[in-house]
Subunit: 729 residues, 2 copies
């Protein structure tokens, strides 16, 4: 009925839907206007995009041809004008293909002739900030993007131009642009890096359009045509075998564009290359993985990431369309339906027609283990999903490598989504994209001082320092080792370790998403086992989203002026609301987010201080969000096990004014170590008892047994949940 429609926005506010009549007006006149507009409305994705493009291109055409001498950096006039130009040309090219209307061809022709006049006169960009200058833009990356769009515009009109125009545009513009990108900018062209993907895509497609096999071959195999660089090599090294891109979801999304668009061109011009089968279909795998790295349509915001970035983005309109055209996978159609937008290309038309014909099938978001690294041996990201629909539970565990310069110091970090919301958060980046007032939209200083630091994540922090002491080069040398993964419904488990984040300290973290009989929602179990060669201070922060309802223990509160938790490595940004040292069984915190409650609970808290804090201190420019955090702190120990769980429970139905189970349904938890194995015992109020046991032994067939509190806990393999009784429901 109303099932399934939901809202996409900042992970902080994915909320449930009350459908509203589309006919809510503020005056009778306005209601009539809306009704009239409805009559003229487009009714397929493609026709709506065509309407939009026609309107945009008409506006651009009315403005005339403006091809200014490059002068301004990003955000400035000449930069933005050249961007508008390539977008307008690209759409005009598609509209020419679709409608045959000569005015579109003429617009592209005139624009490209103007570029052909300008381009040969250009040297390094005046606003360049380093040696990787562009010609039209301050960075070579932007020139590459310009080329990718503009050559596709040219592709649509070239055959219908008079020879002299064609020659001029071929030789004075595109050959020179390709030369700049592939020869003058060889350093970028031959990198194994997203910037090189754009450059090789631009040059490669130009090679096809100009029928210049040498150009295309250099794009595919590198300048030396030896395959050690170039597009194919990039696809081998920038994605893991599971199609995961180590910079993280936000940048994976961006990187997909040149990969998928160039591949689409390769398939069209050289189908015998079977580019979509290359490396076992790595490009289509990567596209699918990109979609899998979302909840509620929003990308997991780990590493440098803008939290508002969703599947509703240019790169994925193309990606979904091209992937559908290649595979005819009907589940991609429901992604397109969610996006509500497609592209004007032939693949976009296929998507639109298929959707209109009712061919969409559900896109099944499954649990996945995404290995990291080109060989898949540099850690992994585990996505454990339980339930279905927009309110399902997703535990995201980041056991991945550093992820280059945009990576954060967050080894073994995690996030939890549930009930349509982000419950346990990753901060993302401290950056307000494209907003002049926030340092021109660049990464802010607080991105380094807070967002990348370990304490800003749900990770172990030792002696108040970040992983690898915040040193990128050191961090890039090693990665976690994924030890175990299973995605059996109701018993999903992931375990990983790393021994290099701090000298002499090994962190081994096992997490489970477990259904307990009698509890409505699956719970998260977290066993962080730490061993070290000397005593340390260990902090385990948890960045939660919600309003505190109940504390199980007394605290000393700083209600007036709150002190700051530390002086560096991110600690300077945390205000301390309260601290406490809970007795056994009392270390729990319940909060509410919208219509559900969450209780976090820790066992074995003798010697553990709990700190309730909030981010936002030492932020004179108001660059940070203010968000709550709870930290478990142990000092003066070397080996320890932090055993905790997170239990979603209850219901707060404000329409019916009904509250159910606003307090935890768990009576107690205890943690036990024996023979190097860990067991957590959980007792519910209604009498169930569950054990979660970890042997750490990789042999899946081996039986294990521990006696705890007079009970025998036995299981097979690395880890398992074990129902200890059958009482209650």
């Amino acid at each position: 009925m109303n099932a399934g429609k939901y809202m996409l926005r900042s992970g902080l506010a994915l909320i449930s839907l009350l459908p509203v009549s589309p006919l809510v007006a503020a005056s009778p006149d306005e209601a009539a206007l809306a009704a009239s507009n409805e009559k003229n409305a487009c009714n397929t994705l493609f026709s709506c995009e065509q309407n939009r493009a026609e309107k945009f291109v008409a506006e651009m055409m009315a403005d005339g041809i403006a091809v200014p001498v490059p002068k301004d950096p990003g955000g400035g006039y000449t930069h933005e004008q050249h961007k508008r130009n390539y977008k307008a040309m690209y759409q005009a090219g598609q509209l020419y293909r679709i409608t045959g209307d000569i005015k579109y061809r003429e617009y592209v022709r005139k624009m490209l002739l103007a570029y052909a006049d300008l381009y040969p006169t250009l040297g390094d960009h005046p606003a360049r900030s380093n040696q990787y200058s562009g010609r039209l833009f301050w960075q070579v990356l932007n020139d590459a993007v310009w080329l990718v769009y503009s050559i596709q515009a040219y592709e649509q009109v070239r055959g219908d131009l008079i020879a002299s125009d064609r020659k001029k545009i071929d030789d004075q513009l595109f050959r020179k642009a390709a030369h700049f990108l592939s020869i003058d900018s060889k350093a970028t062209f031959n990198r194994i890096h997203n910037h090189a993907t754009w450059a090789t895509a631009g040059v490669g497609i130009t090679g096809y359009v100009l029928n210049d096999p040498d150009m295309t071959e250099r794009a595919l195999l590198g300048s030396a045509k030896d395959g050690k660089s170039g597009f194919l090599r990039q696809s081998d090294l920038l994605f893991s075998p599971d199609g995961y891109y180590s910079e993280g979801p936000y940048y994976q999304r961006y990187a997909m564009m040149p990969f998928i668009v160039f591949a689409d061109a390769i398939e069209k011009y050289e189908p015998k290359r079977k580019i979509f089968e290359h490396r076992d279909g790595i490009l289509l795998k990567a596209l699918r993985t990109t979609i899998d790295l979302t909840y509620g349509g929003y990308f997991f915001p780990f590493n440098d990431a803008i939290r508002e970035k969703s599947l509703d983005t240019e790169e994925l309109y193309h990606g979904v369309a091209i992937a559908y055209a290649q595979t005819r996978d009907p589940s991609l159609l429901s992604i397109a339906q969610a996006q509500g937008k497609t592209v004007l290309t032939l693949p976009g038309k296929e998507v639109s027609d298929a959707l209109a014909a009712g061919k969409a099938q559900p896109f099944v978001f499954t649990s996945r283990l995404l290995r990291d690294g080109p060989s898949g041996d540099e850690g992994a990201v585990a996505i454990l999903r339980e339930g279905s629909g927009p309110k399902h539970t997703a535990l995201v565990i980041k056991n991945a490598s550093q992820g280059m310069g945009h990576g954060h110091f967050d080894k073994l970090s995690w996030q939890l989504y549930d009930n349509g919301h982000e419950i346990i958060q990753d901060y993302g980046a401290a950056r307000f994209l494209n907003i002049e007032a926030k340092q021109g939209g660049r990464y802010l200083p607080e991105n380094e001082s807070w967002a990348k630091q370990s304490v800003a994540h749900n990770v172990l922090v030792v002696d108040g320092k970040s992983h690898f002491d915040g040193n990128l080069k050191v961090a890039e040398k090693t990665a976690p080792q994924q030890l175990f993964y299973q995605d059996t419904k109701g018993a999903q488990i992931s375990s990983a370790k790393i021994g290099t984040a701090y000298p002499g300290v090994t962190m081994l973290r096992t997490m489970g998403l477990i259904q307990i009989s009698g509890l409505d929602q699956p719970i998260v179990v977290d066993i962080m086992r730490v061993s070290a060669d000397k005593a340390h201070q260990y902090d385990l922060p948890l960045h939660y989203n919600g309003h505190i309802m109940r504390l199980g223990f007394d605290v000393k509160s700083n209600v007036d002026r709150r002190p700051v938790l530390g002086t560096d490595n991110g600690y300077q940004h945390i205000w301390t609301d309260a601290t406490g040292t809970p007795a056994a069984g009392k270390a729990f915190l319940t909060w509410k987010l919208n219509d559900r409650f969450y209780t976090w609970r820790m066992a074995d808290v003798d010697g553990t201080q709990i700190i309730l804090g909030e981010s936002g201190a030492n932020d004179p420019d108001f660059n940070l969000r203010r968000e709550p955090v709870v930290i478990a702190r142990r000092e003066g120990i070397s080996d320890t096990v932090f055993a905790s769980l997170l239990e979603p429970h209850g219901l707060f139905d404000d329409a019916a004014e009904l509250t159910v189970a606003s307090d935890s349904q768990i009576k107690s938890m205890s943690a036990h170590q024996q023979d190097g194995k860990d067991v957590i015992l959980i007792d519910t109020l209604s009498g169930q008892q569950l054990a979660f046991a970890v042997s750490y032994d990789p042999d899946p067939k081996k039986q294990h047994q521990i006696d705890v509190n007079g009970k025998t806990v036995s299981w097979k393999g690395f880890a398992a949940p074990i129902t200890m009784n059958d009482e209650g429901e």
Copy 2:
């Protein structure tokens, strides 16, 4: 196409929709299940409600008849059981009417016989907290609610019972219950108060069902049958002539239920009373006004209010259904469609059928002036709406009376909704309804210490004390005077004054929602004119929603330990982030909320300190939300004018990564006083100049003129915007 669908939730997070395929699954099995459920799904509001009721009543019937001896207070077992019982009986009664299935009649019959056994044995409730005890419940109000529902259940079955059952239930239960409410509880019965509405409704409907005209007459006219109390008198005194209920929207919504349900019964049994025409149709006016007191479906949260309360609520399912049955107004159908739920009564069926037949028309949310007080002379609430659809702008100005015990000390306060969100906020109440952990769901101490206090509102605060020094009895004696109101599109203006909130201080506040040529969004203009018989400290707080982007002026920041702003009257709950004393033209603050920017700007700031703060200090139990506030402070003056404006501007399109006009489009503003008139001059970046002028003269025909900066500003009447030039677009 996708127009109009939007989300309803906390005013903090009304956000725009990206539609999603309803077929998002987490596994192939779950997808199949969802598809199967879809086949059996109900497809009208009525059939869905019937499904729900059948399921609920089946569960209750399976549990057997439980009519426990009353013992527990609200939230406890016997209280909740008696509530479940009346709900089940009510729904069973309707199901019997609809289906004729005898099992429903039997269930009601057995339940009522059990109550008939119990009721005569009852005295005052054991858990009563005052003298207004119920019999079944700790408060007489709950007994009245029980009676309203249970008598409607009995109404459906009574005629089909054997005489002995009928006599027993009539005499041992309902006559006794009506006696308790109307005679034993005469003090409540004869009040002019919502509790009395419930009591008279219960007794009155019982009189109809038992064919006892005396009972009904006492309910309608009061115990003495002289009309000085009773239902009719309540409808005269509890609503203003515009149907506004002075306790505020949250309680208005609650109060509507007994009014509308009893009126429906009166109309059915005594149509010649023409109850819906009484007092010029006051009940239907009140129902419409209740709907008008919302944005995005959520009630304006002023006075004591739970922010999550929306039109999706039992009282309004009944209200909309009954009003539709009386008026056949098709715009009510789109409210029902938004609610997604109706009731099982005949009016509910009418709504459902009419909706299914496509008869819904837009509900037009217009600007309104809602007078307060039974005679309409105790101030008013002005709702100024500009634009249409879910993103329209609504300026809500509260020039109303105190509103009894649930009122806040917030004279001349305001809120702004725009772009689907609450931009300038009213805190609502400090209460977590029905949540045991938060003092059992009751109003919290912080409701008194923060939420009711003046500084928690967008009002003038003098010498750090609340209006009427926080004294309810004093506050109830006077109300603001609405001086002017016009709702001409593009030039909507409201003005009011009060001279009794502080001894010797008169506040006169004129606000406008004004379209300026060349600006995309209307702006809010605020002229707070203060005159006093001696010098004071004046604070003008603004509680905004969003993330700071830019400050126009330098501040001294408290980035580490933030001091608290004061010691009482709410000031103890505000942390001070930063303070500054802006130079002329520099007193502005820009923030961002989702995809739009807002700039607040103040003129004439010589001697004004701007304080940037955040609520949440001195809150050891984490009962408060932490929300930003900006305060303009002037000290040591008696007469002053605070002239400010709030400008929505720009666009932050994260999907397209496009930012437009993230900074103010206004170049400057200045404020001028002459001959007791106020003028604000506003210059935009693109060259428009607008004057907003206030004469304070109520004569609508009188011409006024002021010379400002060499220009002549002339206008007619109390206040007006005047375009000063025609330059630019």
